[in-house]
Each structure stands twice: as C-alpha cells, then as structure tokens.
C-alpha cells in the first residue's frame, strides 16, 4: 500500500464519508456492542466526569498524508478553524478552570492564527499541548516555531511510529524519519526533552499495521536507547496508541483483508481497567467549525456530543457537559483493548 499524496476526500473515496465508515464498523453482528461490553467495568453507562482537557482540532490541513490518519488530513484539506471560533474557545476557558488545551489537526501549526491562539491561551495560564508532526517545523515559514513553543512552554507531542526509518517512512512517507530526527535535534537544542528544562517532548508510537501496541514502558526504553545511541536525541515519554478502525486505517483494514480479525482482536482484548480511564471521561473535543464531540475519533465520525449535552461551543454549558453520557460505537473498542489507548498513551 503506497503512501498517499492527497486525502481520501480529494479522491472522492467512499470511506472519506463518516456514514460509510459507520456502516462498516456498526455492522459486525458477531461482535457485542461496545456499551454491553462496557458494563463489565461496573459503572453502568459510560459518562464523563471532570473536564481536564479541551482538545481543539484547529484544522484538517497537513503537510503529510499518513496512511493511518484518522482525520484523513492532507495538503488538500481546507477545513481550518477561524479566529472567531478560537475566540469562543478562549471565552469558554475564561469561564471555566479547564487546565489543559490540547491543539491538534492536521498540522495545527498550519492554522494562520496558531500563534495568536497559543498566546491567548497562555495569557490565561493554561497548559498547552501541541500535537506536532515534527516535519512541519522544518518547512519554510515555520522554522521559528520551536523557539515560539519554547518561549510559551508548550508541551510537544509528536508521532514517531518507530525508532527506525523503515516503519516510520512506511506509515508517514519517504524522508519523514530523517526530517523528524532533524527537527528533534533542533528541539533538543532548545531544551525540549531534556531533564530539568521544563520543556516536554513526548513521542507517540502507533502500530504500523493491524496489531496492538507493545508495553509502553518496555518500548519507551527501546526508543530512548536506540534514538540516543543512533541519533543522539532525547525525549521525555513515549505514548503507545492503538489505531482506531476509522478513516484511512479502516480503509487499510478493509483493503488488506484484516478488518474482521482486527475488530475481533480489539473485542477479545477488552480490558475493564483500561476502560475505566478512557480519555472521553475528562476531555471535550472541539471541531474546526466549533462543533463539540466526546473525542477526536467521534469528531471524525461526525458523532457529536448528545444525550442532552450541547453539540456546538456557542451553546457551551459546563453543567450539561461534565457528567454527560458519552456517545459510543464499535470503534470505541480501540481505546479499551490491551493496556488501553488515549491521547496520553496507555490507560491501564
């Protein structure tokens, strides 16, 4: 399977459509519905609790077209959050004490108001996570961003699916590994990833294929040893993330004939301990146009917050949000399999 140069949407592929994806993932009659399985946790239905993270998807445009991308991001995607929508997010932060804002995309740096948004969030003294793909930091017009993010003490979380070139380039495109290492060296020079600097650089591993991630701790040791010995670079933590059976990864699963066995693997690996700590319990996800979701995956499946919670930030109401019932479908098994999976890595 070749690395793409444009999104599935650009090619008019059926799985670029959320409803087509849902038809597949909700049509596996042999598998128990996620809600039934979640009952094993012993908490009844899945509900949110304290909101600790506002995850904001500031746009679907990206300089990369990764094979597994759940956003179907790419250079051709034009969905970009406006300054007005960002301002509503700022207003909500002012009204609440949500401590962390997690900026994602696409490549969030490609939003023309990225710096303004970070500035405004930091004025409110909130922690900012930037999900950077690293290679954007080497592109012309973006090379000042590492320093900007250091000055603003942003935490950087970057996908690096393996500590070697082969797997990384296979998933993310030719040359991505070398460019990423170059960007990591720049970040290390500024203090990112170095003990005691206060500048955090975390990496994300996700499997390059239809299998579950290994133990986060063991793999983090391998990454640290190999990346330092081979490239002289350092980082703080490794997060292992399971690929969700949606968007491009769903397309890969179907095309490669792995879909049924992968779903079965996710269901068989359901772990109640991991399910207890799923990220939707303490996260709200804001779409590029201000729509509200329980997580970034639901956002891509166009499954808005429901069950009495508002579906757009213009109607934001913390009372209706903090104990809302989470909207689920069969893809949710991706977050509860094995050691669990979240934007902060394993959950069990």
């Amino acid at each position: 399977m070749e690395v793409r140069h444009k999104s599935m949407k650009a090619f008019g592929e059926s799985l670029a459509n959320a409803n087509e994806q849902l038809k597949i993932i909700n049509n596996e009659s042999n598998l128990p519905h996620f809600d039934e399985k979640y009952e094993l946790v012993g908490e009844g239905e899945l509900h949110a609790s304290n909101i600790e993270i506002m995850q904001v998807n500031v746009g679907k445009m990206c300089n990369q077209v990764c094979k597994h991308c759940h956003v179907d991001a790419g250079p051709d995607r034009k969905e970009i959050m406006t300054k007005e929508t960002m301002q509503i997010c700022i207003d909500i932060l002012k009204q609440t004490d949500i401590p962390t804002v997690d900026l994602t995309g696409g490549a969030p740096e490609l939003n023309p108001n990225f710096k303004w948004f970070v500035d405004e969030i930091k004025k409110l003294d909130r922690h900012v996570i930037v999900r950077s793909n690293l290679t954007i930091l080497k592109e012309s017009g973006f090379q000042d961003l590492p320093k900007f993010m250091a000055n603003h003490k942003c935490e950087i979380v970057s996908s690096l699916p393996f500590y070697k070139k082969t797997f990384t380039d296979k998933q993310r495109g030719d040359g991505v590994f070398d460019k990423s290492i170059s960007a990591i060296k720049n970040l290390n020079e500024l203090g990112f990833g170095k003990e005691g600097s206060g500048l955090i650089l975390n990496f994300v591993y996700n499997p390059v294929g239809a299998f579950l991630p290994p133990s986060q701790e063991g793999l983090e040791n391998d990454y640290k040893r190999e990346l330092f010995n081979t490239h002289g670079v350092v980082f703080n933590n490794l997060y292992t993330i399971t690929n969700m059976p949606i968007s491009r990864f769903l397309d890969y699963l179907v095309q490669s004939g792995n879909y049924e066995s992968y779903m079965q693997k996710l269901v068989d690996s359901f772990n109640p301990s991991a399910a207890t700590n799923v990220m939707c319990k303490f996260t709200i996800s804001v779409g590029w146009d201000g729509q509200l979701f329980d997580c970034d995956f639901n956002q891509m499946l166009e499954m808005n917050m429901d069950h009495g919670a508002p579906d757009h930030i213009k109607d934001f109401d913390m009372k209706k949000i903090e104990n809302r019932r989470i909207v689920t479908a069969q893809h949710c098994y991706g977050c509860t399999a094995g050691a669990g999976s979240s934007c902060g890595g394993a959950t069990a």
């Binding site: 393996f162 082969t166 499997p207 299998f211 579950l212 991630p213 290994p214 133990s215 063991g218």
Partner: protein, 110 residues
C-alpha cells in the same frame, strides 16, 4: 480433508482442554509464565518463539508469533534475523553431521 492446516483452527487451540482439563491448565499456566518478561524481555521471547516456529515448521506458530513479535515492538528486520538464526541452526545441524559421514568414510575406505 482438503488441507491439514487451516487458519481458523488456530483459535481452537484451547479446545485441547477437552479430555484433560487439569493437564491443559498446567500447560497453559506454564506457557503463560514462560512468555512473561523475566531475564529476557517479552519481545526477545517472542522473537525466539518465532525462530523456533520456523525450525519446527509450525504454520500455526509462525502466524501467531509473527503477530506476537509485531505486537511486542519487533520489526521486519528483527524478525528476518530471527528466521536466519533458525535457518542457520537447521543448516548447521545438517552440516555438522557431515563429521559422522567423514568418520564412516574414514573407517571404510583406504
């Protein structure tokens, strides 16, 4: 029977408990303990298992331990090296028996 090995038979492994559940329990407890991280990591154990699977030429085990090696963080390069180790031992085992051939040859010929 059109073939002896069917992929759908692999998940039926636990049906071996039927007939002797006590022995199966002992086997599966021991098997599970063997593959837990100890002096060797889970990844190293999965790669050893993959190599042995090739040496004993077990299609079920090759399928299972390719998946397991990937799930424990191994890549194609590491798995291929493991298969070479198995192949080298199998090839070497044949070759070293050549010493016996030479012994017999020495005894029988002038």
């Amino acid at each position: 029977m059109e073939t002896y090995y069917k992929p759908e038979d692999l998940p039926k492994f636990s049906k071996m408990s039927e007939g002797s559940p006590e022995l199966w329990k002992k086997f599966s407890d021991w098997y599970g303990a063997v593959f837990q991280a100890g002096a060797l990591s889970e990844r190293e154990k999965a790669l050893i298992a993959l190599a042995v699977a090739h040496a004993v030429q077990c299609p079920y085990c090759i399928d299972a331990y390719t998946q397991e090696s990937l799930s424990k963080g191994a890549d194609l390069e590491q798995m291929t090296e493991a298969v070479h180790v198995a192949s080298a031992i199998r090839g070497g085992a044949s070759m070293v028996h050549g010493v016996q051939m030479k012994n017999v040859n020495s005894k029988l010929t002038m």
